[in-house]
Amino acid sequence: MLLEVRDLHVEFRTRDGVAKAVNGVTYGVDEGETLAVLGESGSGKSVTAQAIMGILDTPPGRITGGEVVFQGRDLLRLKEEERRRIRGAEMAMIFQDALSALNPVLTVGDQLAEMFTVHRGMSRKDARAEAVELMDRVRIPAARERVRQYPHQFSGGMRQRIMIAMAIALEPALIIADEPTTALDVTVQAQVMELLAELQREYRMGLILITHDLGVVADVADRIAVMYAGRIVESAPVHDIYKAPAHPYTRGLLDSIPRLDHKGRELYAIKGLPPNLTRIPPGCPFHPRCPLARDVCTTDDPPLYEVSGTRGSACHFWRECLDG
């Protein structure tokens, strides 16, 4: 395994108490593999990613337990300087909104070249040449001229390409993409996703794709991990999930996608709201919204049951769910 997250716990101190954002998340991603992490806002998927990258705001955030094993080393035990050398070089991150994620007062060339001067000790001139080449590689037209422009002078899709260029600059082993296409126009989304998938195949990188868009997932992901209230509720190869979800939450997500062949029918929506993280309900955190919930669900927090060799579900009644 390239990266293994084991039993990760993250808390946030807030004015209304301690918010348990991540509660025992375990997942892994291999070289050349794409893991899609799926979940609503507040499910802990981004916080997990920030903990892996080591860019969690502490305080208010705090990692209270678990391991993040990357290329055989537990990152949480490393010194900050060692982690810094890994960031950007061995693992990189692509953010959702490239306009705010890029520094508005530096040219894109400067921001790309910085990767090479800092991590590789290159001269400014060589780094600039690398930056132009990177922009070419993510297919930004007229790279030689545009390298001197500022982020706001690019279109949304082009900006996200620059974010991707920055991430692949040092050919990292792992890329975490946090909702990379959410802020983009639908037609552009496909182009950007395609580019990302292509580069991933080319460099055989591990890719963690954080998203709430099931449409994107089906095309590119190998495995899916579904998160709810800071834990994994279902983890399975992508085709298994689409064939038959083993958790009522996953089922709810799938049913709420608009489909052309269901035209005219009412769109399904999961009832209720995601839980307040300072007051996660006892038992299964999903039980207040679950159509299958019974008494046991209000008292016993389900473990991740093994559904098959490659598949797990945190539902007491996964068999029932699987049968539809």
Partner: protein
């Protein structure tokens, strides 16, 4: 950019005329422009009439204003109460006040920005709370109180400095007055920098910089500071005009013979020429400083475009 500058210069004209006219009216209509010309005594009617004619005071005010401004633009600012050319007074007074202002600006940059960066990066810690409280106190205590107290402590009690400044006003004697002049702005610069840093520290692009694996120093200096200091630079730029105009109090406390001193004398003796002349120059400085700040903004922030 060129067109923007021209437009701004054109916009400055009505503001310049308005401000100088306002002061001109205040001095002329409210006061008695020849009151100070005959020494301590009241002028006798014949002399008064002669003087009024000599200075064109028998004409309507708007005409006086036009004549005065016409003279100003040929470099003739008139004469002061003691018969000295106003331009001569300016030549001795402005260098002193410019030195004082420079020192004040230096304090704002060095102390204000440093404190702001330190507290902005340590928000909520004791050092932050302490500095924040201190800035509130500095803002609250009027400059003349700060000045008198510092003069009392450093000059009289401990004897570190000369309580009043000699007429040459060299740089070293102006250090304490410069600090006093800067005090309130310095507190504002600290608070502004702090807010700006704290705000930008949580921004996405700083998170990106950290995710790129840049050393902390580089994240702070190249990414955080570069963005956070844009509003601070513009504040300090605009402050130049305020400081020069506000130096009256400081100059009075430390007996500095600068612009504020000359203006104070001019007002006491109701000398129109001195007062309006100095104010005209101050208003110009203020307007130009603001224009420069706006242009600086475009240089510092590539997102700003002037059309």
């Amino acid at each position: 950019m060129g067109r923007y500058v021209v437009r701004r210069l054109l916009q400055m004209i009505p503001v310049f005329i308005g401000a100088t006219l306002l002061i001109f009216l205040m001095v002329n209509v409210m006061g008695d422009p020849i009151a100070g010309l005959c020494g301590e005594r009241q002028c006798d009617p014949a002399t008064a009439a002669r003087l009024e004619q000599e200075f064109g005071l028998d004409k309507p005010v708007w005409q006086q204003y036009v004549t005065y401004m016409g003279n100003v633009f040929t470099g003739d600012f008139g004469t002061a109460f003691n018969g000295q050319e106003v331009t001569e007074l300016m030549a001795t007074a402005f260098p002193v006040t410019v030195r004082l202002t420079l020192i004040a600006i230096l304090f704002e940059i060095v102390i204000g920005v440093t404190l702001g960066v330190v507290t902005g990066l340590r928000r909520g810690r004791p050092v932050d709370t302490g500095v924040l409280l201190l800035t509130l106190v500095v803002i609250s205590v009027p400059t003349f109180v700060t000045g008198l107290l510092l003069q009392l402590l450093l000059g009289v009690k401990w004897g570190w400095i000369r309580p009043s400044v000699s007429s040459e006003a060299p740089f070293d004697e102006l250090i304490l007055p410069g600090l006093v002049l800067a005090s309130v702005s310095l507190a504002y610069v600290t608070r502004l920098t702090r807010t700006s840093i704290a705000e930008n520290r949580r921004s996405d692009y700083v998170r990106t910089a950290i995710a790129k694996g840049l050393p902390r120093r580089r994240v702070v200096v190249r990414h955080l500071l570069r963005n956070s200091l844009i509003p601070v630079v513009t504040f300090i730029g605009a402050d130049i005009g305020f400081l020069m105009g506000g130096a009256i109090v400081t100059e009075r406390i430390f007996n500095i013979h600068g612009v504020g001193y000359q203006l104070y004398q001019g007002i006491l003796r109701q000398n129109t020429q001195t007062v309006v002349g100095f104010v005209t120059v101050l208003v110009l400085v203020f307007l130009v400083a603001n224009l420069v700040v706006d242009l600086l903004y475009a240089v510092l922030d590539p997102r700003i475009r002037y059309v």
